[in-house]
Symmetry: C2
Subunit: 306 residues, 2 copies
């Protein structure tokens, strides 16, 4: 019985090494060189080919190789009854928060203005800070940590989520209160899970509800953003700019207009990168639990979508 | 009896408005239009002309218009017995910490690398984080806040100061332990007060003790840095780069080599800017205390230099 790693276009060796460190005996097969599909009981997936799981007659468990599972749930070939687990890693949260705080501070302290001034040898001390109120869409483990860290640093923060909440440590707005949420903020951070409800939520209609000059940070999924709506929203002044880490198509195609738009800062999906060394123990643990029929850890709730 | 504002090259109106808001009756004279020097009992100074205070026969109190007083203590015309007060403002600390955290995060998450990659349309996900350990020189109100915030965010931090300390919440190194301090860090933040002991402390000799690739953030005073030693230290690899907010001569002269050095990021002394609205009440308070012979607030200890 074995594990299969199916993560096209990425080097699987770092995962193999990390898993073997915790279980030297474990049998691992790697896509596309899978010789014995009938032996595969657990599949570790990142952007697997649609439908490919049908190859495995004895598959019992799917694990995402990251925190997100949208790449798994969106494949109709994944049986409804198949348990799916994901990686929950404090280091993921830590990296994500650092990235978002960096984006907030660079906007607040106008880093790009000073970079331009340096190039032109301009010494301009006026109005060094843009006052900010930060709104975080998605208040789970990731969004909650961003709120806590920014609040500790002394920033005004508010949260937004799809569900109603009876109590929450910060001002909170639910789905029906989107306009009120946007009225309260000038930095908008998207950390929502990708579900049919949230896909395309960052669109023209939402941008036109923003306070003029709102700065967008999308670190969730590329599909949250209707990409063709972004540059027009900046041109019209609803947004002052954006920091993006995720895109509809990754790597971002060379002809994509975002590359050359100076008001959009891009990073190549590195806001939070799963650390195989940190993730291996929970994968091995779930492999053992699956074999001995015990309750799984970090099990995904399909209704919720994460 | 009146206040004098002596702050050449800056617009004093914002200070006048802030002071009048708290004491509408107060008499304010502004350099260089001081008609009645004999009436001046309190002088508010920022980069005043050396020796100028001799003009005021009845001067009883000097206040800095910021947190620093090196510009006052370095003027031999300031009588030894003259009390000097400075601005202590939480907002100053908040801004300073935000700036330093921004610098740390941009180094840790390699902002300039991703900016270059965007220009060249390069998608490179490898090694997105540089592990950092941050050392803060100067552990007073400002340095202490930087240590607290970075520690809360989950970063390893250590402090350095001239005095011995029996207890300190973070690893602490005193003057004699400079090498050990530098061995422990790869981001060096200077928040020391400027005193004869600390002037020029950021020099070739110190840089050569740094771990290769250390990133320098100087937000204290330009005179802490021996400016001609910086680019050679980067060329030799002791430093990987620097973020500077302060310079020996400000505004930074157009011919200065820092402007065109891409490994040095410059801002125009805006890391922490005194907010007149926040500072006015303590200036008025000290003016009243001086007139009624009460103990002053935020009095500078000249031996300590701050």
């Amino acid at each position: 019985m074995s594990l299969a790693i199916i993560s096209p276009g990425r080097n699987p060796q770092i995962w193999i090494d990390a898993l073997r460190k915790y279980d030297p005996e474990i049998k691992i097969q790697v896509y596309p060189e899978i010789q014995h599909p009938e032996e595969v009981e657990m599949a570790l997936l990142w952007q697997h080919p649609r439908g490919y799981l049908k190859t495995f007659p004895n598959l019992k468990l799917i694990s995402s190789l990251g925190a997100g599972v949208d790449h798994i749930l969106s494949d109709p070939a994944v049986p409804d009854s198949m348990p799916i687990v994901r990686i929950v890693d404090e280091k993921l949260t830590w990296s994500m928060t650092n990235y978002v705080v960096m984006g907030v501070l660079n906007f607040h302290r106008q880093l790009t203005r000073y970079q331009k001034d340096q190039k032109r040898k301009v010494w301009d001390m006026t109005n060094p800070e843009i006052p900010v109120r930060v709104g975080v869409m998605g208040v789970g483990a990731l969004g909650g940590d961003v709120l806590d860290k920014l609040n500790y640093m002394g920033f005004d923060v508010v949260g937004f989520g799809f569900s109603e909440k009876e109590s929450f440590p910060y001002p909170y707005f639910s789905k029906k209160q989107l306009q009120e949420f946007l009225d309260n903020i000038n930095v908008l951070v998207c950390l929502l899970p990708l579900t049919p409800d949230t896909e395309g939520i960052l669109n023209k209609n939402l941008f036109e509800k923003c306070q003029k000059g709102t700065f967008l940070i999308n670190v969730a999924r590329g599909k949250h953003l209707v990409e063709e709506d972004l540059i027009p929203a900046i041109d019209e002044g609803y947004l002052s700019g954006a920091l993006l880490d995720v895109y509809r198509v990754e790597p971002l195609p060379e002809e994509h207009p975002f590359w050359e738009e100076s008001r959009i800062q891009l990073t190549p999906h590195i806001a939070s990168v799963t650390n195989p060394t940190a993730a291996a123990p929970q994968i091995i643990e779930n492999f053992k639990r699956m074999k001995s029929n015990q309750a799984l850890i970090n099990l995904v709730n399909r209704d919720r979508g994460y």
